[in-house]
């Protein structure tokens, strides 16, 4: 196992963490796990709680998958990964109930649905099953932080517009008429579209700056 560790691609670096935050942000760049992103981002608190719960599951499943990667035959890897992920989701479900029943009620069914968040299985398969434990933990932390950041961007914007508050604190005078559609499901799509627009615009501008000769339209096609 030690030999395999040394052979695994590259040493651990801060890039393992940073890439999840920005360049490969799960929400805005990879567009993964949209179900909880749209459903639980109607307030900043819900978004933060969901982000942290997902990060917790992601880091622990990455750790275990990476530690057991020599032990798990290729043929049963998906079944084993799902088992590991489902275990940590159950753990998080009980922990949140123990911390706050109110929070558990607000997140509702979406805690259990972390199991099927493709981000987590995706990282287990694409990263943790091929890299050392240390790098996988960093990757999980980075992706989790990026996911939380994405959820907070949506949750914050939706709560400010739809409820006139942020983290439950009123931001506007009582005369403010909240834009209720923003905290309804359709508001999730509007907000996500605007954030994706912004991120794609930034990406396009950077690419144009890096290679001024190329046409931006070609560059933008994924």
């Amino acid at each position: 196992m030690a030999g395999a560790d040394r052979n695994a691609a590259g040493a651990m670096s801060t890039d393992d963490f940073i890439k999840g935050l920005w360049r490969e942000n799960p929400v805005f760049v990879q567009v993964l796990g949209m179900c909880p992103v749209l459903a639980v981002s109607n307030s900043a608190v819900n978004a933060l709680a969901m982000g942290l719960a997902t990060t917790f599951v992601l880091v622990l499943s990455n750790t275990l998958v990476s530690a057991l990667r020599q032990f798990i035959p290729r043929q049963v890897r998906i079944a084993t990964f799902i088992l590991i992920i489902a275990t940590f989701v159950t753990v998080v479900d009980y922990l949140i109930q123990a911390i706050s029943l109110e929070l558990h009620r607000a997140l509702g069914a979406f805690i259990s649905l972390i199991v099927v968040n493709c981000l987590i299985l995706g990282r287990a398969e694409a990263f943790a099953s091929k890299n050392t434990v240390a790098r996988s933990v960093l990757d999980g932390l980075g992706m989790g932080a990026g996911f939380t950041l994405g959820l907070l961007c949506l949750g914050g914007a939706r709560e400010i517009l739809g409820n006139g508050s942020l983290f439950g604190l009123a931001l506007f005078p009582a005369a403010y008429q909240p834009w209720i559609v923003m905290i309804l499901p359709s508001g999730g799509f509007f907000t996500l579209a605007l954030w994706l627009l912004l991120f794609n615009h930034l990406k396009l501008r950077r690419q144009m700056r890096e290679s001024p000769g190329n046409s931006p339209v070609q560059e933008a096609t994924p």
């Binding site: 032990f71 159950t90 009980y94 029943l101 409820n163």
Partner: protein, 242 residues
Amino acid sequence: MRSAHGHANAAHPPIWPLYRALVGVGLVCGLLIVSVFVLTGPVIARNEAAALQQAVFKVLPGAVARASFTLGPDGSFHPAGEGDAPPKTVHAGYDAGGRLVGVAIEAQGMGYQDTIRVLYGYAPQSQAIVGMAVLSSKETPGLGDKIEKDPAFLANFQALDVSLAADGESLQRAVEAVKSGSKTLPSQIDGITGATISSQAIAAILRQSSAQWVPLVYRLQGELESEPAAERKGEGETDGGR
């Protein structure tokens, strides 16, 4: 095992590592889940009891102690035991002198999107509903969810008349929701503009539950007056916790 399957190794991998991985990971995962369940179980039970306690004191202003009773098959109330839960269980609230303030009753019904669960307080002395709290609902944020926090709507439940008719078996007037601002009778609920269906749903839940419980509680209030090991405000929490 490996040698037995050796000839097929190229196409079929040895079976043992597959078993080992699945059973091993399953074992570790099972142990983990059970340990977390055992560790958090008492805390969760305590949280649930505390939430219930808080809701009971909220819908029964003046109550500082509570005891739960279950309606037995013989048609009388018994102190609730482990595992007793609504719809047959109600919570009696007592004031500092140990006198019965009222009874908190859980009820549920269909709302606009999903089932709404409420707890309401019935005071036999004034024959009125003296408080209502929504325990869970999935009403539309910003509109239907006003049934949980709109002060004008909640004010309806400070003294909502549910007095019994002369026969003692039915209510004089059923609870009903009316258009916002047109409440004329003490048994009417002033609805919320923009949340008509949710307001009507609350009225329907209370109408149904009060028709069933109010005559019963009024008749049997003597059985609830004694205070069997009631739990006091602030003091420990639990029925179910260990």
